[in-house]
Symmetry: D2
Subunit: 481 residues, 4 copies
């Protein structure tokens, strides 16, 4: 096998019959026909088709040595800077196809799986660790072009630093039993984006203080494993009209809470368990951060370009480019875009081979972006709102343009060089990106993608060496160290 | 007559059968039963009932000398500081009833009409001016407890400063004919909040450069006047569930574009016409700004208190009050709230009688608030998002809590001292205020309530006397003036 | 006796012969003739004369009942709102005389002494507490018009929260012995502004975590007490030229480190000792904060007005008032000024009698100012720099205007309506306020006047009641408390 | 000839006997011995010696083909990316030697002269243009290792946009006569940094609206040309003590106003005159911006590293690295530093050959830095002040540490792992960089180095192509262009 078509993907997801709950009801029938998921699945389907597109195929796939079936390039383990750039090109193709608005396009999780496999040796010969299970999963994922979701965030009674969260019944998903078949998981995880819409669900522990041993595990299981339940939030799909909701109708990814009710994870799917140190090491020392941030940032650049295009089109539509404060606002977006592009390029230029022979992008520039983007993206959406001003809200709908009002609307809402209908399209897009429930969820998504922004700044500081700079100052002052 | 009940209000609006277009269709039947308007009209109805509430009646109404029917206090022309405080108390009652979320509670426009009547003498003996028509309308409004909307914003092909907007067909509403019966209006106005949901619509010209003579007019006509058409935007009412959409289900006010198609405004309804100077003077020198900003700011204080309550409740729910950055964020809201309260009080303390004997609040403190609030309100909503973090989006719906998921949700989503269901209620409120389409429209509404924020700063500077301070410096430096 | 003249003040300070070290040398001879102190002492002298000025005397002094000698009004214990306003008027007079630039004009510390006396009863009947010593000092201070300095800040090896600072030799001033005569102090305090330039030095403990018992004391002693040494920083007086250094030549207050070397504090001068709880209570519950912040804020308003005058004069001089970004910058200063004024007025309006019958300004508005001013003052100085642009640095000196260059300079440096010499005067003032070593010390002084700005925000949050707002939200959501 | 030694440089400057006025007096005797200039000239001298340093010589100089005398690498016309990197390495050496604090190290103006020569062909065959004079000067400069200053800023009565500045006597330097020998210049220019301390002074017109023909010229003349007068500002050298004033004592560059009194510029020194279009083109199309920003930014990176070192050393000294807000502040500096480094690298990576065969760095990344640095540098200095807090001002002097106070100071001012004397050194450095008159001038210098920051943002927007992004959005919306 190898890469799959959009149709194959849809069929497979439909057949899984995952246990998904929406607005208090379990979803029956084909998920691909449900109003809340249909737009997204259609878009995902088109992404898979892109891998089979003749013109793109050699940029979207690779042939593993000795194989004849092309594999999705998101699974490629880079061994040179050229490989890194190939990976970036592939990510850009998928991102451009969705204008950077699909946070969980398949390459994101495929990259994660690839990074796990590339660092599996970290677990070699450690207690309760099964690096070979990771490698097997990676092989299977490539062969079947599997799709994944995952979830980091644990439920929290209490975010106080000194809280130890003791309850009788598990809240955060944990191991409650180990037996011949595998480990048994009980509890919940919050926020699986596209939860239930993928073949597999990957669970692993994010490092934190006081990580309990029974929460220190990692595994991947099919989404339809017995006892796994996905509880959806309200859908932000308001209609199928791409005029009214140009983005939500296509890119609303859904988030869900995942409940594990006595879920048996077979041993051959366990990567490690009961091993706090391995859990921490695996995130800190594997290539997970280097490769996934590389993917994320590439997508965020495409999204920022889309946003810049919208901002400029708004400016053109109402002809406000002469205002100094408008120029400053646009220049803010330009500065953000060029800064991230330069940092990404530097991360690639400074990439180095890790101990297992994989070419990792340099982390410092990527961590700078990771600290900056969650702050500038919300500001960019604010800039769009500030350009659109009061005109961004009072917008007629598609049906109005197909009614007796059509002529009035085209007349009264015309822009400088734009018909009423085009003007409304542009403003609705600006609104859907920044002010609809879909849009604000996007903003919050980018803001929290990498975790608590406050901690990101601290972590950047923690990992940044300043010895050389300090020594220079000490020498200047003739101070002994 | 005098004050009316909620029921009377609803009946009257239903009977008007205004020409309202929603999603490409003209609304037929009772507007109060239409899903997009029903929640709002119910809330407005409850506001009118408040005037008749025995406990509040003496704070919500007044008896004009020689009359026996109580009149809504929003129509009171203040002649003393006590009157001003009475007015504020009345505004607070209505604002608290709606937590400051109804931008166009009846007192807003009633205050505008009252300020017009109090300054009508400005138009005495000027060409094309009919101050007596204003006074007549004011009397009628009091007697019938009329409700109003208005709209400032004109359609703009082009917001460039040097543009003169010439088209063959009028775009911005203007006088195209004068005849025995009155003036005839053709063209559009953008953004009438609650357009079509009030008895009357008031139109007058905001001062601007190059105001054309045929756009320099003011009048009020019944909303159902022939040729007046209201074109609604998409509704942000997503359901009637106050659990899922606690604010949108109650307070979604709707905005509309108003189209005038050969609308005849009878002479007795015209305040002035063809008089650019009168149009400018009337806004600049009347008590319109002093009294309406006083109303708006009182409401905004109540809204800020509501927002502070939500922020604190979020903090309590996830127990994060120990974090210094959380404390700083809350203190930002506190600073904003106390600042506005102090400035409003100062505006009242420094109030002075105008030349016609009405007690006007001092404008400088009010203009300071007007410049500040459009910046801090969006920041406050951002603070709520930053406290809520990723937990503010992935929220189950009311139906989920009435399904088999109930127990799971109550268990897994519990807060420090809060059940799962209450936690979700609190987070949904935070979301509806700051991230739903309803909430972001509120943000944009407050941001642009007083017009372009950039210009507000300039206008504050323009009106602020610095002579004394400059002179002090000159004396210090022995510089001759 | 009672109020003293400037001359009397100078004589008294000269006679004290305090142990002041400047640039490695002990100062000998009259301090009033030393280049680093002469400008300041002349200014202070003129402040004392203001109390005797016939036109101001009844606003600057009061007659205690049964007395015939007028007392400085800064010592008045306010018993009514009128008294508070009298106090403010007195503070304004002194502040205007120095344009708010003298942080430690005599009224600041006089107010502190007055607040101590007004709250002395807090110490009644507590162990190691001598409230009567406070009252005696207050009486003596009034009778002799004493001047004071004080110092809060303790030396710190280490500002880490978990550090307990143990060294063999005391670093922070502490009690090392108690004997018949009194307590013996050893150690240092940092940052006494005008240290050595006042009659007395007041020492008391600021509340903090882990306050040691032997650091929990308060007393006041003459500045020339044996063993008390003042170590000055570099002087920011660069010349006596008021043209070149209009502010530094007049208002440079000097800061010093105070070293206590076996200093005996006689029992009759001790307010309390060895009593951590009393130390904390006395700051938290006395009227110290209410009255001193009231003084500080009044001065800061005058300073902000001076700053606004300078900003406007710069704008006029180079004729840039048409620029929108300039208007916005000026409006920022206006907003800050009007906000603080409104909050101060509210603090007075909301003043209440404390349990001992003294009228305390309301603390919440004052604490809001205390949190805000340290952030806006530095911004205002930045605004001045941004208006002055590159022209604020390259400025000829007074001597150049008295040389052959005079004509050239007057010609080439002329402003729109200003001669070259006046333009340079204005720009030098802007520079001296914001960019000279004197000016940046002022900025840092205002930034840290009330302590660590980060903690100020936290403390405002801590003291602010939000129960009512939270309850409103809970009721809205039907959540049980 | 070729490169010169520091001693040769000093001798040459002394011999010029430029007409420099300081505090109202013309400087007589050797400028290198004057207290205000001696520190700087010593530092400059050490920079020239660096070119002759054996270890660095091959990185600091180059051998033009066919020559035997090494030439300073700042004169190298880059023809490849390797050349660009060579140039950067040379700039770094000089910058590191002065920690980026000398804005006008010789490479800055040498680079400008080199860029002029590389673009001289732009002036070929245009009226009143003499490209060969530029080339001759460039050759001479290389041969004699000449030093230059220049000045852009013209005196302005009035910065209003609509002002045309008419006076009878020229204010801004202009051509008042043309004769056989050359052009005659009368008027002033503001702000020549190191004016009078260089061999030559280069004058050319910055593009602006309404540039008068008689101000549209460019030339270079010896600093001691008859009629050229330099009027200095106050010196910020306060002492020779590198303990008290570690930066000012070494790096105070002085700024001066330049007055031209009937100055004859010989024809062979004129680059062009009376040619507004040439003046504008020469700045816009030459490699001037590309090469000089490349130099400036390289220096600014070194300066930022020095600043980061100081910030970290402060943090270590008082042991505050555990505070989240401190971590965030440091991470701000790190982000700024890494961002600029990445953008500079991108500018080099994207460099292209211009039409005359010179390798120009890409302008977009450089313009992004140019827009950003003037905002972040002042913020970085503020961060240093915020870390230093109140401890940054009250600092004893060098003499105090050589007096009887020594022991006390070392005891009471010790840091966590630092002696009192070292702690004071570190804090004095922080103060001298950010709060002394020297330091604030540095801040203002970086803020205005590239001109009005408001305009820089506008210019970045103006030059940035957004067509592709706009087209993407239009296609997404099916909007016709």
């Amino acid at each position: 096998m190898g890469i799959i078509s959009g149709k194959e993907f849809i069929n497979r997801i439909n057949q899984l019959q995952n246990d998904i709950w929406f607005d208090g009801k379990k979803i029956e029938g084909n998920i691909s026909e449900h109003y809340a998921f249909k737009g997204l699945l259609k878009t995902k389907s088109s992404l898979y088709n892109l891998q089979m597109n003749e013109n793109l195929m050699n940029e979207m796939t690779f042939l593993p040595s000795g194989k004849t079936e092309p594999i999705g390039l998101s699974y490629l383990q880079p061994k040179s800077k050229e490989d890194l750039i190939k990976r970036r090109t592939m990510i850009e193709h998928w991102a451009r196809h969705t204008h950077g608005l699909m946070g969980r396009s398949p390459d994101y999780m495929n990259t994660a799986i690839m990074s796990f496999a590339s660092s599996a040796s970290l677990l070699n010969k450690r207690k309760n660790c099964f690096p070979e299970h990771i490698r097997t999963l990676y092989d299977q994922a490539m062969k079947e072009d599997l799709s994944f979701t995952h979830t980091f965030i644990t439920p929290q009674l209490n975010r106080s630093q000194i809280n130890l969260m003791q309850t009788e019944q598990p809240i955060s998903a944990k191991i409650i039993e180990k037996n011949k078949q595998g480990i048994v998981i009980q509890g919940a995880r919050l926020l699986a984006t596209q939860g239930g819409l993928t073949d597999e669900i990957l669970i692993f522990s994010a490092p934190r203080f006081y990580l309990d041993q029974d929460e220190a595990f990692a595994f991947s299981i099919p989404s339809n494993t017995k006892g796994v339940k996905f509880i959806c939030r309200e859908s932000f799909v308001l209609s199928e009209s791409t005029f009214n909701h140009p983005l939500a109708s296509r890119y609303e990814e859904m988030d869900s809470i995942v409940v594990f009710d006595h879920v048996l994870v077979p041993w051959e799917r366990v990567f490690f368990y009961d091993h706090v140190e391995a859990a921490n090491d695996f995130v800190a020392q594997s290539s997970f951060h280097a490769f996934t941030i590389h993917q994320v940032v590439t997508r965020q650049i495409v999204k920022t370009e889309f946003l810049l295009g919208i901002a400029q089109l708004l400016v053109d539509t109402i002809n406000v480019s002469e205002y100094q404060h408008i120029q400053e606002k646009l220049s803010e977006i330009i500065i953000g875009l060029e800064t991230i592009k330069a940092l990404l390029e530097k991360a690639e230029n400074d990439a180095t081979l890790d101990e297992w022979g994989y070419m990792r992008p340099s982390l410092i520039p990527l961590k700078v972006i990771r600290t900056v983007f969650p702050k500038i993206y919300p500001r960019f959406t604010e800039i769009i709102q500030l350009i659109g001003a009061s005109g961004i809200v009072t917008l007629p709908t598609e049906n109005a343009f197909h009614s007796d009002l059509k002529e009035d609307l085209n007349h009264y809402l015309q822009g400088t060089k734009t018909s009423g209908v085009d003007r409304v399209k542009i403003f609705r897009l600006a609104w859907d990106l920044t002010m609809s429930s879909f849009g604000t969820r996007q903003t919050q998504y980018e803001r929290y993608f990498f975790g608590d922004p406050i901690r990101l700044a601290s972590r950047l500081y923690d990992c940044y060496p300043t010895d050389k700079q300090v020594k220079t100052v000490q020498e200047f002052l003739n101070i002994e160290k």
